[in-house]
Amino acid sequence: MSSARKFLAELRQEIESHVGVNHIFLNRLAVSPMAKQDYRVFAENHYPLVCAFTSYLELLLLRAPDSEARLWLSRVLVDEYGEGSEGKDHSTLYAAYLNAAGGDSAAEDAGVLRAPALEFIETHQELVRKRPFLEGLGAVGPGHEWSIPKMFDSIIPGLRRAGFDEQEIGYFTLHLDQDEDHGTWLEEALARYCDTEEAQQQVRRGTLASLEARRRFWDGVQAAVIRYRQPRATRPDGPEPRRVLHEVALTAWDGSAIGRRVEEMRQSRQQAQHPTLEALLQRCRAVG
């Protein structure tokens, strides 16, 4: 096996066993009876990622060093824009799912981004704009195409259990097949580039940066689902036991009206500073 192929096989394995791809939240979705309400929170957080994906490809396309890379990127873009899904682009498909879960895609389009999505999108925009081309390719290529089928394998059974019909979850089922295809083309494209140690390291760095962002994203979505169910969480211990004073201070803070108001104000101020998805994409295109 050539060194490039060997590297890619190892990379694939690394992706498949990565925490971001096998996040406990995804496994919980796969095995627990979540309700549509939980999936609404999930969808509201996930929707912007779907809408932003094409922007990474477009930005990367501008920087593609040769026709091989341009060809792969354009193929994926064409699919994202609706080839193979009856002309519906992927964000339209996702919007249908979001609305079926009780969400409002129009409101999401107009509203400011939630923290987990904002962080994920910014990380990726940074990767495709500012890092070497191969790092960006690592993030949107293997980081997405090789990880999504496995992640969606965890998500789809739960969606069916919650009562969504096949049309409503079309976005997810479509990706199982499409991403397998994209993944195979990608392997061919990458095999050409990954022939030096440096190129391999760049692809791997980008891939892992994307998966790490994915892990943080799932952490955030899980936290949002929990907050929806139980807004006044009891703050159980973390990995380190809290000191008595810390416990007492937390309780005093949680219990005081001032504490609550300050926290609410801080949160809404933070949230207000977040851009809308449209603004973020435009800003990025302009800079790109």
Binding site: P33, D38, K150, R229, Q230, R232, V248, D254
Partner: protein, 553 residues
């Protein structure tokens, strides 16, 4: 070979649950089975209740265990499954094993493609053999375990069910649980403010047959004991000052209890320990209780269950409220914390809640745990009501959510349930004061952790006090897949024409057991509601509210 044993975490970090503020015990199931593993193998225990979530995936990915085992009670079914599913995804070569109460009583729930072995019943011997067999077979990835009793394994598309394992006759022969494996969590387990608490067991099983409890089925209606020497050896080996004895019914055999006291006295062991036991033993044996108290007993968790004898009878508790009362008096006198577990029922109305809370205040129970009578899988109650469940989401079987339709509108029901926190507060205050006055040594030992306990409990109670917490937890999950759609209270009217208690057996116990005469009718309609006297504190609150309303108008 590398073996990873995982105590799953409850899903929602802010979820209501005992382990949030009242009781977090060591994962003894895991340290017990780990102790049987030969020194040739390496074992790690992860208690996910005390770890960051990503540690699990990282450990599986980096440490690459050859076997991952987890434990499960009914409420944790999905957590255990998620652990094993994740294992299969990250390390497909590892054998995935589940054991515990849920695995034993509802094994079908775990028959999943990502689970290789389900261990049923007591785990020590089965696990020991399983580990050795897997060690021999794992090179060729052969995952069949024919000939090992007490488990079922996936054999192609089928599940092969091995014969039941006979229980270890003499508990003394079992290796002592390997607490060294959880050293890194030392000091973090607790019961109330007894923090830095070790957990041991000294007996297994119970010879009663309450119809809401599956312990007697799990242990085949037999009780086995560790010898007094072994118990005290274990207590002495704990560095912790507090020890929780996890037995379901510690107080069952006078001879052994006395032998235990003798051993403690002989060796001069000074530990504060608490356990679980029935109130009738306490009521009938005040002198033994006094001796136990001198031997370090500081708390007893008992199922008081009800303030009503008919209800106790319907639950087959074989106890009376008078014994509950006497037991509580004795414990108060001795300065033993009484933790009484009570169960409200789906068919209750305001008056019954009032009467229960008043009863608790009259008794002055130290820690009243008010729960909801729940048909837990594996129990007689479950067999009777499994077709009447509003949900099959096992997370809601935590005795804090009502899985049957309630007679009151659900919101009302939870309002009354949630007010137990405030309505029983006088009971707690008086009982605490009493214990600390009577046992200054205990007060001194617990005092340093009191602020810690109160701070956490306050936050926990804030969630519990808010009845919408319960509604939010179950939103969208009632009448879901597997449950009967559109079920209402009327569907579960418990008609007066059912045969009464003591008639022919209607519900079968597990085939291995004597068939008992179990009443089909558990909720007796003709049982008069306990006299409805609002609790004094509630009356005062109501008066205050009326006053405010008057002023406002």
């Amino acid at each position: 070979m590398k073996i990873l044993l995982v105590m799953p975490t409850p899903y929602e970090t802010g979820r209501l649950g005992l382990e949030n503020s009242v009781w977090l015990s060591e994962p003894v199931a895991l340290t017990a089975i780990a102790a049987t593993v030969s020194d040739r193998h390496e074992v790690k225990v992860l208690d996910m209740r005390l770890e960051r979530e990503e540690v699990l995936a990282a450990t599986i990915a980096q440490w690459r265990p050859d076997l991952v085992g987890t434990t499960s009670m009914t409420t944790d079914v999905y957590q255990a499954k998620a652990v094993l599913r994740m294992t299969r995804q990250i390390a497909p070569g590892a054998l995935t094993v589940v054991g515990g109460h849920a695995a034993t009583l509802q094994p079908e729930e775990f028959q999943e493609p990502y689970i290789d072995v389900i261990v049923q019943g007591e785990g020590e011997e089965t696990f020991e053999q399983l580990v050795e067999r897997w060690d021999a077979q794992r090179d060729v990835q052969a995952r069949t375990f024919d000939g090992i009793d007490g488990l079922r394994y996936a054999d192609g598309q089928q599940w092969a069910v091995m014969p039941k394992r006979s229980q270890v006759k003499n508990l003394d022969e079992l290796p002592v649980p390997d607490r060294g494996l959880i050293d890194k969590y030392k000091g973090r387990y607790f019961f109330v403010s007894a923090r830095g608490m070790a957990s041991i067991f000294t007996s297994r099983g119970c010879s009663y047959d309450c119809n809401f409890c599956a312990i007697w089925e799990f242990y085949e209606r037999r009780t086995r004991y560790l010898s007094a020497e072994k118990i005290v050896d274990q207590m002495e080996a704990c560095d912790e000052q507090f020890v929780f004895v996890l037995d379901d019914n510690f107080l069952t055999n006078k001879k052994r209890v006395l032998a235990f006291c003798e051993e403690i006295e002989k060796r001069g062991v000074k530990k504060f320990w608490m356990t679980q036991g029935r109130t009738d033993f306490v009521a009938d044996n005040p002198e033994i209780m006094a001796r136990l108290s001198r031997c370090g007993m500081i708390g007893l968790l008992s199922g008081f269950e009800s303030n009503d004898d008919d209800n106790l009878e319907a639950l087959r508790k074989k106890n009376t409220w008078e014994k509950n009362r006497r037991a509580n008096d004795i414990m108060r006198e001795l300065g033993i914390f009484s933790t009484g577990i009570f169960m409200v029922r789906a068919d209750w109305e305001e008056a019954q809640f009032d009467a229960l809370y008043e009863y608790i205040n009259t008794l002055e129970i130290g820690i009243p745990l008010v729960t909801i009578l729940t048909p837990l899988p594996g129990t007689q109650l479950y067999r009777a009501y499994k077709d009447k469940l509003m949900t099959t989401d096992y997370r809601l079987f935590d005795l804090l959510h009502c899985v049957l339709p309630t007679k009151l509108p659900r919101e009302e029901f939870y309002k009354h349930f949630a007010r137990s926190i405030d309505d029983c507060d006088p009971s707690i205050r008086r009982a605490m004061k009493n214990v600390f006055v009577k046992r200054p040594d205990l007060a001194r030992a617990m005092a340093p952790h009191m602020p810690w306990f109160y701070a956490r409990t306050w936050r926990y109670q804030r969630v519990h006090r808010d009845h919408t917490s319960f509604l939010r937890d179950e939103e969208g999950l009632l009448n879901g897949p597997g449950a009967r759609d559109g079920l209402t209270w009327e569907d579960i009217q418990y008609p007066g024409d059912e045969p009464s208690i003591g008639d022919e057996p209607r519900i079968e116990a597990r085939e291995t057991l004597v068939q008992l005469k179990i009443p089909k009718r558990i909720w007796a309609d003709d049982v008069p509601a306990p006299e409805a006297k609002p609790a004094p504190r509630r009356k005062a609150l109501e008066a205050a509210n009326t006053q405010v309303q008057k002023e406002a108008s």
